[in-house]
């Protein structure tokens, strides 16, 4: 009688111990998560692969910045980058020629023949090519948050994400005007900017402004009148996906567009009429979670992409077709 029961007991204990081990294994394993709980970006990556890859990375300049924010191209291919608390001036080869320390973290930059305009959260500073500060303009209100600058020969446009407006200045810092894109008697929602990415670029007589919340680019006259727009919200490759894209734009010499997106960090190329042409850099190019791919396009068709993820400037040249 006892013998039997002891045997049974021992077996039972053995079973319990083994169950413990099983449980322990289950505890550690991360395989027990159903597919339907996991977010898959396969759709996008597939779409990217299907789209034509028009560009090829020809070189890459590592930057001596921890958090590069914006870049621009100056005269004869010189490059300027802002980030951390510094402004870097580089020659066309990407060799760092000068490092100008700034008082506060810069957010955006524009470079004309005469001046370098550096945008900060709430104000703009003007430097000359030698890197001396010429002017500091007045603050634009404590809600201001500048994220983009663009200049032509005599006017500077500043995109203010904080107040969702675009400022227009003369080079002397005098305020020429501002507009919020709401159109006459606010018929339009204006600039919808859920996250701090609001960029603009000047082409001929119009300034192109991103409206990320509505996934489109809008062209405005210097007077602030909307001329045209293109772009659609879509998870297809030809549209802009994400709550707010494109994050940055650049306009090529032929008037075509280069756009960068966050979420799926990628760079795309559009024709001047907004027709999707193809990829410049698919999302697997950049480290996971890269945001803020600032863009610049020089006159010989090279596209510069600021890659904060790998702290470098990537140069892309059109693939010879």
């Amino acid at each position: 009688m006892n013998r039997k029961l002891t045997a049974a007991l021992i077996i039972a204990i053995a079973i319990s111990v083994s169950t413990l081990l099983v449980v322990n294994k289950r505890g550690c394993s991360t395989t027990s998560v159903p597919e339907s709980y996991l977010y898959s970006t396969k759709v996008y990556t597939d779409a990217e692969r299907s789209a034509p890859l028009l560009y090829r990375e020809i070189s890459r300049i590592p930057l001596s910045l921890l958090e590069p924010h914006a870049l621009t191209i100056g005269q004869n291919g010189t490059i300027a980058v802002v980030g951390d608390k510094a402004l870097l001036l580089m020659d066309s080869e990407g060799r760092e020629k000068q490092r100008i320390n700034l008082d506060s973290p810069p957010t955006c930059i524009a470079w004309t023949s005469t001046n370098i305009f550096v945008g900060f959260n709430t104000h703009i500073e003007v430097y000359n090519a030698a890197g001396n500060r010429l002017q500091t303009w007045q603050t634009l209100g404590e809600n201001a948050w500048l994220t983009g600058l663009a200049a032509n020969t005599n006017t500077l446009f500043a995109a203010d994400y904080g107040q969702r407006i675009v400022w227009q200045f003369g080079f002397d810092g005098q305020l020429l005007g501002k507009f919020n894109g709401r159109g006459p008697q606010g018929s339009e929602p204006g600039f919808v900017i859920p996250s701090p990415y609001f960029d603009l670029a000047i082409h001929n007589e119009s300034v192109w402004i991103t409206n990320p919340g509505r996934q489109r680019l809008e062209a405005y006259s210097f007077a602030g009148k909307r001329l045209s727009y293109w772009g659609k919200a879509s998870t297809e490759i030809d549209g802009f996906c994400g709550c707010c894209n494109p994050s940055y734009i650049a306009i090529t010499a032929d008037g075509g567009f280069v756009t960068s997106e966050k979420g799926m960090p990628r760079v795309k190329r559009y024709a001047s009429d907004g027709a999707f042409l193809g990829m410049v850099a698919p999302s697997d190019t950049f480290p996971k979670g890269t945001v803020g791919l600032d863009l610049a396009a020089d006159n010989d068709g090279i596209i510069l992409v600021l890659d904060p993820g790998s702290r470098a400037i990537r140069f892309y040249a059109e693939e010879a077709l």
């Binding site: 505890g27 550690c28 991360t30 027990s32 998560v33 159903p34 339907s36 709980y37 996991l38 977010y39 898959s40 970006t41 396969k42 759709v43 996008y44 779409a47 929602p189 919808v192 859920p194 996250s195 919340g213 509505r214 996934q215 919200a233 998870t235 996906c241 994400g242 709550c243 707010c244 966050k262 979420g263 799926m264 979670g289």
Partner: protein
């Protein structure tokens, strides 16, 4: 023989009393030590006690601790949904409207590659359909979580974090959480995002590391 036994017994009895006293004193010492320790620490950890109403008083009332998920560490691996001791996990999705972009194309709501921006089943991301989307005005939509349906898989959180502002985040719903002595999810969490926090700040952690205003 009997005499021997008696003396033996008394000796044992005496020894026992002595040891018992020692044990009691020791136990008392431990308790006092612990309480005073808690007092000391609580005055020290003021940074954790942010937002704690009775932070000053807390030295006198040692804090109860609750489990908390740190959304900034969370990688939305989906284990919250599967490894809670409760069949329907105590981790749920929370939404900070103040951070929400009210996006029309919300990536916490729409399946990747959704064809139409409608609330039809085939466009929804949430496996349990726990997210409600209501139109406010062009182009804004409000997102709300139906806690009863949410299973805390974090799929929407991933989408929102990746494409949007990260206003959606996972957190422990303490009306459901049993506050186990050892949290089963904490042991499973690959990001080590679970930790015990003072009672007062069960919900102070929010996506993007900012604390609830």
């Amino acid at each position: 023989m009997n005499q021997a036994q008696q003396t033996n017994i008394t000796r044992r009895g005496w020894l026992r009393t002595a040891l018992r006293t020692i044990a009691l004193v020791g136990l008392g010492g431990v308790m006092v030590g612990m309480v005073s320790r808690t007092k000391r620490l609580c005055t020290k950890v003021s940074s954790t006690c942010r937002g704690c109403a009775k932070r000053e008083a807390c030295g006198f009332a040692p804090p109860r601790t609750l489990w908390q998920l740190d959304p900034t560490k969370c990688i939305q691996c989906g284990l919250c949904a599967t490894s809670c001791v409760l069949e329907h996990s105590a981790v749920r999705c929370f939404h900070t409207h103040a951070q929400c972009g009210y996006c029309k194309l919300c990536f916490g709501y729409f399946e990747p590659g959704a064809k139409a921006l409608s609330s039809a089943a085939e466009n929804q991301l949430c496996p349990t359909g726990a997210i409600r989307r209501t139109y406010i005005e062009d182009p804004y939509f409000e997102i709300a979580i139906d806690k009863a349906l949410c299973i805390g898989c974090g799929k929407c959180v991933h989408g929102c974090k990746m494409f949007g502002n990260g206003s959606l985040y996972l957190q422990i719903d303490h009306s459901i959480c049993l506050n186990c002595n050892e949290c089963a999810i904490a042991t499973a969490c690959p990001a080590d995002a679970f930790s015990r926090v003072p009672y007062a700040e069960a919900y102070t952690k929010r996506a993007n590391g900012s604390s609830e205003a």
